[in-house]
């Protein structure tokens, strides 16, 4: 074993990154522009709305989707963030996380569906997912800066890389758990693959897929500090600043704001799945 010389994988990767860098304009700039626009759109739209009104709007949404307790929590939680003085940062973080989540959902659910349908595809995708979740963000953040510069964009990309896998995995799982008899019923009526998916598999797998979306949101939120390390604004930067200054209290406050966003989003997604039958 010792006989084999060390493979120069590191160099290959560096070479690869360099090559990629040459096609930056074609490969990454459009992506960069789109993501940047999305984040900006999300945060500016939200920032436009007066905080009080936004809090009430979100509270109302929570009421409709998730019931009264959630509404109370949403209003109190967001007010607390406001009180602590993290409102603007919260909006920025919202923008970042929503963008990352949306991208993850848009990519993750279809990929998860394909995984559920094709074993080979699943077998190919799984190690990639493992890689996405365990390759430390720090490792690819540096190349990400080469390609996307500092700021929100690499933050969103890192979040997507980390937060996408649970959606794929749980979509795959959920669809595979659909009982055979239900798929047979759909087949027997001549459903196309798409109809079977939309009318039978996805509705049945909903709670599992939503668990994936929930994990996705959580992981995206857990990346905000990392995102802050490459220049994304928002609560992550506050946390990081507080941490650098060994200010546990302030760090906790900013962290708490992230947690409140997490709980609000969690409520909304989880209950959205259940609020259907009212008997």
């Amino acid at each position: 074993m010792e006989a084999v010389p060390k493979l120069p994988i590191g160099q290959w990767v560096e070479g690869f990154v360099e090559v990629l860098g040459q096609y930056k304009g074609v490969l990454f700039d459009p992506l960069s522009i789109v993501i940047s626009a999305m984040v900006t759109y999300c945060s500016t739209v939200l920032a436009e709305i007066p905080s009080l009104i936004l809090i009430l709007l979100l509270g109302a949404a929570a009421w409709v989707f998730a019931g009264r307790a959630s509404m109370v929590f949403t209003v109190i939680g967001l007010s607390l963030i406001h009180n602590l003085g993290y409102w603007d940062e919260t909006i920025e973080t919202f923008g970042l996380v929503l963008t990352a989540t949306m991208i993850s959902i848009v990519i993750g659910i279809p990929v998860g569906i394909l995984c559920a349908r094709h074993d080979t595809f699943r077998n190919l995708v799984t190690p990639v997912l493992d890689l996405m979740q365990t390759m430390p963000a720090f490792v690819y953040l540096i190349p990400a800066i080469f390609f996307f510069g500092l700021g929100e964009v690499p933050g969103v990309i890192a979040s997507v890389i980390f937060a996408l896998p649970p959606i794929v995995r749980l979509t795959n799982l959920g669809i595979r758990q659909v009982p055979a008899e239900m798929e047979e019923a759909a087949d027997a009526f001549g459903a196309t693959g798409w109809q079977k998916l939309v009318k039978v598999q996805l509705p049945y797998a909903k709670s599992t897929i939503l668990a994936g979306v929930n994990q996705c949101i959580m992981l995206a939120l857990s990346m905000v500090v990392i995102a802050a390390m490459i220049g994304a604004k928002g609560l992550g930067a506050d946390v990081y600043r507080a941490v650098s200054q060994v200010d546990i209290g302030r760090g906790f406050e900013a962290g708490l704001s992230i947690v409140i966003i997490a709980i609000v989003l969690d409520r909304l997604t989880q209950y959205a799945g259940k609020k259907e039958r009212n008997t």
Binding site: F138, F146, L150, A228, M229, I230, R241, S244, V246
Partner: protein, 288 residues
């Protein structure tokens, strides 16, 4: 390579005539009025904010990130020969790899030069007088440190680089351990952060402690905050990597009471705004 690079930037979105390109306006716009900083809340970041106020750089913005991100951004710009302004410090390997320069600080906003201090836990003096005495005496020059760092950047293991340096500087080392009674395999833990300068110094210290004083040293590579906290709670016996008075100032404030500061082990470090040499500005005032 400090040639004028302006004409080499094909993507430059220059508004004014070529002649005014060197004016702050053009540069500012090109840089989006961004100075690339390091970890939010780090001492040098706080200092830089102060300096920016001092010079009235209201239009400019200090981008928070991390040192790795800053370095990456610097490399990226440097390779493309694009302008960039960062918050930098020496000793740092980037000065070895790239041609960089500090912007002059006529108002002395960044204050005097930084020092690197040795910090040990309370009670080390009683528990391990030998190590304490050595750490107290440990003091060297930036040139010493850099010679270790250069070796490391060339691909040597830190241990090897440190051992070689000690071999080549027996006289200096002898002074550090002069009159100290070696011990029998006592255990000692040192913490350090994974920057080249700290890796270099910590490994030299480790080498001396083990070879000259008979200690068994364990090194713990950590982040700055945990490093200070580790010393403060006595989990770590000490470290030789505290940047004071600016960079690590908040840690000193927080943990000052729980540690013992043995004073500087290196003088002549520096923090400030750094640009590639090819850039056509030389003073912070030029940014206005």
């Amino acid at each position: 390579s400090s040639q004028n690079t302006n004409t080499q930037i094909p993507t430059a979105t220059v508004v004014g005539p070529i002649a005014s390109e060197t004016s702050d306006n053009a540069l500012g716009e090109k840089l989006d009025y961004k100075i690339i900083g390091i970890d939010a809340g780090a001492g040098s970041m706080v200092k830089t904010e102060e300096v920016m106020n001092l010079y009235g750089l209201d239009k400019w913005q200090l981008v928070e990130g991390s040192d790795a991100a800053m370095t990456a951004a610097l490399i990226k710009a440097y390779e493309a020969k694009e302008p960039i302004i960062i918050t930098g410090w020496t000793p740092h390997w980037m000065f070895k790899k790239m041609d960089l320069k500090y912007l002059a600080d006529p108002k002395n906003g960044f204050g005097g030069p930084e020092q690197i201090h040795t910090i040990v836990r309370k009670g080390l003096k009683q528990d391990q007088p030998a190590a304490y005495q050595f750490l107290d005496k440990f003091w060297w020059e930036p040139a010493d440190m850099e010679s270790v760092m250069v070796q490391m950047i060339d691909g040597k293991d830190p241990e090897v680089a440190a051992a070689e340096w000690v071999k080549n500087n027996e006289a200096k080392v002898a002074k550090w351990v002069e009159g100290i009674q070696p011990v029998q395999k006592e255990k000692l833990t040192l913490a350090y952060v994974a920057w080249d300068s700290e890796i270099a110094s910590t490994h030299v210290v480790e080498h001396v402690l083990e070879q000259k004083l008979g200690y068994e040293v364990e090194l713990s590579q950590v982040q700055t905050g945990p490093m200070w906290a580790g010393v403060a709670i006595g989990d770590v016996d000490g470290m030789v990597t505290a940047w004071l008075p600016s960079t690590d100032t908040s840690y000193l404030e927080k943990f000052g009471g729980q540690i013992k500061d043995l004073g500087p082990n290196l003088d002549g470090t520096k923090i400030g705004l750094v640009v590639p040499s090819y850039m056509n500005i030389s003073s912070i005032e030029d940014l206005k």
